[in-house]
């Protein structure tokens, strides 16, 4: 899932300004593959554990001393819009900050924040998408 230039991004009720993109990736951290004796291909594949990784990229155009820190837990909420109220969606998830990295170039500075979503019960998708 990719959201380009979301209308608003908040983390634990604090607005993150200048967000240019949010990517939500899902990767397996435990893949089960089983083979029988009838041929070379797996006859059973399942993903028993998965990680939902959220990467937020901000453009920073002024001094900024309020970056989140790894380990911070909070609710990330973003509004993905299309320029009008139609099809606007709210994406919410509870997540933990894994890393915060800043990069500089001749064209400006960007901050990349990586978060990992968590599900309270473990059996519900932590990313909740709703129409506004």
């Amino acid at each position: 899932m990719i959201v380009l230039r979301p209308d608003r991004v908040e983390f634990e009720y604090q607005v993150w300004e200048g967000v240019v993109r949010v990517a939500i990736d899902r990767v397996s951290t435990r893949t089960l593959e089983g083979h029988d004796e009838l041929g070379p291909f797996a006859s059973f594949v399942d993903v028993a554990r998965q990680r939902v990784l959220i990467r937020v990229t901000q453009e920073i155009d002024a001094d900024n001393l309020e970056a989140p820190a790894p380990g911070d837990l909070g609710q990330l909420e973003l509004i993905a819009g299309s320029g009008s109220d139609a099809q606007r969606r709210r994406v919410r998830c509870e997540c933990v900050v894994e890393s915060v990295q800043n990069k500089f170039s001749d064209y400006g500075a960007t901050r990349s924040i990586v978060l990992i979503a968590q599900s309270e019960a473990g059996n519900v998708d932590p990313v909740e998408i709703s129409l506004l």
Binding site: D36, L38, F44, D46, A48, R49
Partner: protein
């Protein structure tokens, strides 16, 4: 074809493979028999007993269904449960073997389905 033990489909809920273990003469160091490390040499004491293991994964849609699959296997591994024929996917048969024990490969994995890995060892004793 489906594998069976005593006609039961114990393993067909998920992927599984058969493995035949060491075969041939059983050679024992004399030092082990005499409990004396200074004694050299070995002695043949017959053939290795047949051991066949089945390793795979039980797959179910619910906790209770997975429990039932596990119990069906452990029931066959209990003391004094009689031997029977083990037949693999290709019809290869090991006659009058007992399910000696089963080991579970970690806990239950909960993905699209519930599943647990296992290794069940069959053999002839006595």
């Amino acid at each position: 074809m489906a594998s069976t033990f005593k006609g039961l489909n114990l393993f067909t809920s998920g992927p599984h493979r058969f493995e035949v273990h060491r075969q041939g003469r059983r050679v024992v160091p004399l030092s082990a028999i005499a409990n004396d490390p200074s004694i050299a040499g070995t002695i043949e004491t017959g053939d290795h007993e047949l051991r066949v293991s089945v390793h795979g994964r039980l797959v179910a849609e619910s906790e209770s269904a997975l429990d039932a699959l596990r119990e069906a296997i452990t029931d066959q591994a209990a003391y004094q449960v009689p031997a029977g024929d083990l037949i693999d996917h290709h019809g290869r048969t090991w006659q009058d073997v007992k399910l000696l024990h089963v080991e579970w490969d970690g806990g239950i994995d909960r993905g699209r389905a519930l599943s647990v890995g296992y290794r069940a060892e069959f053999g002839i004793t006595g």
